[in-house]
């Protein structure tokens, strides 16, 4: 049975949205290949690849993203777990705290940070310092993802089952809770990567040469290279997504939420 009208309208909608995303990308791609006049080629890419600064900034951003994910999860997994298991009534507070990064502009955060935070040089003096604001920026997404994931589990029963079997809190969280949150964790990690790879304000003001800062710098010197770099950053994000998805799939827990039939 065919329902052409039913399929047409959503299809059309998707097509329009698709074009909305694809056209700028194609245009950027075309521009990145432009070598002046009517010459097209890979010159911009070639020039970029031979910039050691590109690789340094890229490496820095990737490292920061990973650190941010780890710190964020180490802090939030136990917190959201505790929220869902024991202190449900604090949910409004958690919800409020988690959206603060949307409310407070990054520029205010940065100003606050520079005056408030003092500490050992290996921390405040290095790019590691950026992990602090990045964890805060990623907080809303990480929190939401974890909260949704944990709400789908019967945490109380799983907790009590594992305790009655003799497990402590660490075993419970690492062996039971986290493995059942793969989807949520992938989501949180992806969003964090996207945020950290694209974050400009903090890095720029605190004078660290991250990937986004480098794109900006290149944009001021060579427009075609900036376009090439933008595409490259898209590619990285996509690869990251694929990679994380793939590792998630590869794990053995073919997790089906709900468990029971």
């Amino acid at each position: 049975m065919s329902r052409p009208t039913h399929n047409l309208i959503p299809g059309l909608g998707l097509g329009v949205i698709g074009l909305y995303f694809v056209i700028p990308l194609v245009a950027t791609g075309a521009f990145s290949l432009w070598e002046g006049g009517d010459k097209y080629g890979l010159a911009a890419y070639a020039a970029l690849i031979h910039q050691p600064k590109l690789w340094q900034s890229l490496g820095l951003s990737v490292r920061l993203a990973i650190q941010t994910i780890l710190v964020g999860l180490v802090v939030l997994v136990p917190a959201v777990f505790w929220l869902n298991l024991r202190v449900q009534r604090l949910r409004p507070l958690f919800d409020f705290l988690s959206v603060l990064p949307f409310v407070v502009p990054p520029i205010a955060l940065v100003a606050g940070m520079t005056t408030l935070y003092t500490g050992p040089d290996w921390f405040v003096g290095t790019a590691n310092y950026l992990v602090v604001p990045y964890v805060i920026l990623a907080l809303p997404y990480t929190y939401r993802a974890l909260d949704v994931g944990m709400r789908a589990l019967d945490l109380k029963t799983l907790t009590e089952a594992s305790q009655s079997l003799g497990a402590g809190w660490m075993t419970l969280i690492l062996r039971v809770v986290v493995p059942n949150l793969t989807t949520a964790l992938i989501g949180a990690a992806l969003l964090t990567i996207a945020i950290v790879m694209g974050e400009f304000t903090f890095a720029n003001i605190l004078l660290f040469n991250t990937f986004a800062v480098y794109i900006d710098y290149v944009g001021q010197t060579s427009a075609t290279q900036a376009a090439a770099l933008t595409l490259l950053s898209f590619l990285i994000t996509w690869l990251a997504m694929l990679g994380v998805l793939f590792t998630g799939r590869g794990g053995r827990g073919q997790v089906q939420i709900g468990g029971a039939r």
Partner: protein, 352 residues
């Protein structure tokens, strides 16, 4: 000496008293059911034994040792929950091995033990399946195996069958009993289903509003209810208002007629009682002057082998239910007048 001793355990939530000085003793190897209506505090009591809740006062003593302050993880108690509680990310076997892994047993010993208990619950061939690949009954079997794997000091079951359909429920219930007898593990089983409790327990603890209504063997709970709550809650019973007429002759006045009840012997004349008749002790016959009570058949319920007939006693709105072989019941039409008889030893009398 008792194996598990609950000593005057009390629990409040806010102003609500959930358990009032509950004391129960379990012998080693005993299968005891906690039976009671919803909200009477069964789960709360079980959770206190497991260590998930703390009593406000009273003690939990296991083998002479007060474990009231011990964390659940240290109590060595196997628990099966009402909700499906298998770890979704682990296979049946991994679930069963979880407690052993926590105890850092070596891998070979873990696998051997897991195979043993999975065989015990009849799921050896499903060892590699994940919970979502198992039926509800199978999941509860794995949960039982998981609880047994750690050789628990006590097996705690909180309505493990309530999510299952009737047939599986009966199967698994009998199997739980068989496994309990095979392993000899002392078991506390929570249920609000009286048939479940009566059919598989050594002893039944009937609870009502946070107090123990009666503790005894299933036959005693059914046959000799200690109070009107137990009589009403366990099994069907017809309840007629009575007054002891003759304490030496064993006669009670029920609905204006003097009827025989040997248990009235020794009771003071004039004592108000609940006159209780179990359906299977009631005999219906043709109306005649010798009948103890008379009435009209007003309803019939067919149960297969048995049929129950509801009889409204003449001279009131009180009813008595008689259970009889369906073939015999077929001869009695609705609306017909019958005599209601019983063996004088059958009625139970509870002082009202």
């Amino acid at each position: 000496m008792s194996y598990l001793q609950l000593d005057a355990v009390a629990k409040h939530y806010g102003s609500r008293t959930v358990l009032r000085d509950v004391s129960i003793d379990l012998k080693a190897g005993e299968f005891v059911s906690l039976l009671g209506p919803s909200g009477c505090g069964k789960t709360t009591l079980l959770r206190i034994v497991a260590g998930f809740d703390q009593p406000d006062s009273g003690r939990v003593v296991l083998e002479g040792r007060d474990i009231s302050g011990l964390a659940p993880a240290k109590r060595q108690m196997g628990m099966v929950f009402q909700a499906y509680s298998l770890f979704p990310n682990m296979t049946a076997q991994e679930n069963v091995q979880f407690g052993l892994r926590v105890r850092r047993q070596d891998a070979a010993a873990q696998q051997k033990r897991a195979r043993e208990v999975l065989e015990l619950v009849g799921l050896a061939e499903h060892a590699q399946k994940y919970p979502h690949q198992l039926s509800g009954g199978q999941q509860q079997r794995v949960a039982l195996a998981r609880a047994l794997a750690i050789s628990p000091a006590l097996l705690l079951l909180d309505e493990p069958l309530s999510a299952l359909d009737a047939k599986v429920r009966v199967q698994l219930r009998d199997e739980i009993r068989r496994i309990q007898q095979e392993t000899g593990v002392t078991t506390l089983f929570v249920t609000h289903d009286q048939e479940e409790a009566l059919s598989i327990s050594d002893r039944v603890v009937v609870m009502h509003d946070g107090v123990l209504a009666q503790v005894g063997e299933p036959a005693a709970i059914y046959g000799e209810p200690a109070n009107i709550f137990v009589a009403r809650f366990v099994g069907a019973v017809a309840e007629l208002p009575g007054v002891v007429a003759d304490g030496s002759g064993g006669m009670v006045t029920v609905l204006g007629r003097q009827v025989a009840a040997s248990r009235a012997r020794g009771m003071a004349a004039g004592t108000r009682v609940y006159f209780l008749l179990r359906p299977e002790t009631v005999r219906l016959g043709p109306p005649d002057a010798a009948g103890m009570l008379h009435g009209t058949v007003i309803a019939r319920t067919f149960f297969g082998a048995l049929t129950s007939l509801k009889v409204e006693i003449t001279g009131g709105t009180d009813c008595v239910t008689a259970a009889m072989a369906s073939g015999d019941a077929a001869n009695i039409a609705i609306g017909s007048t019958v005599s209601v008889n019983w063996d004088p030893d059958s009625p139970r009398l509870l002082v009202a």
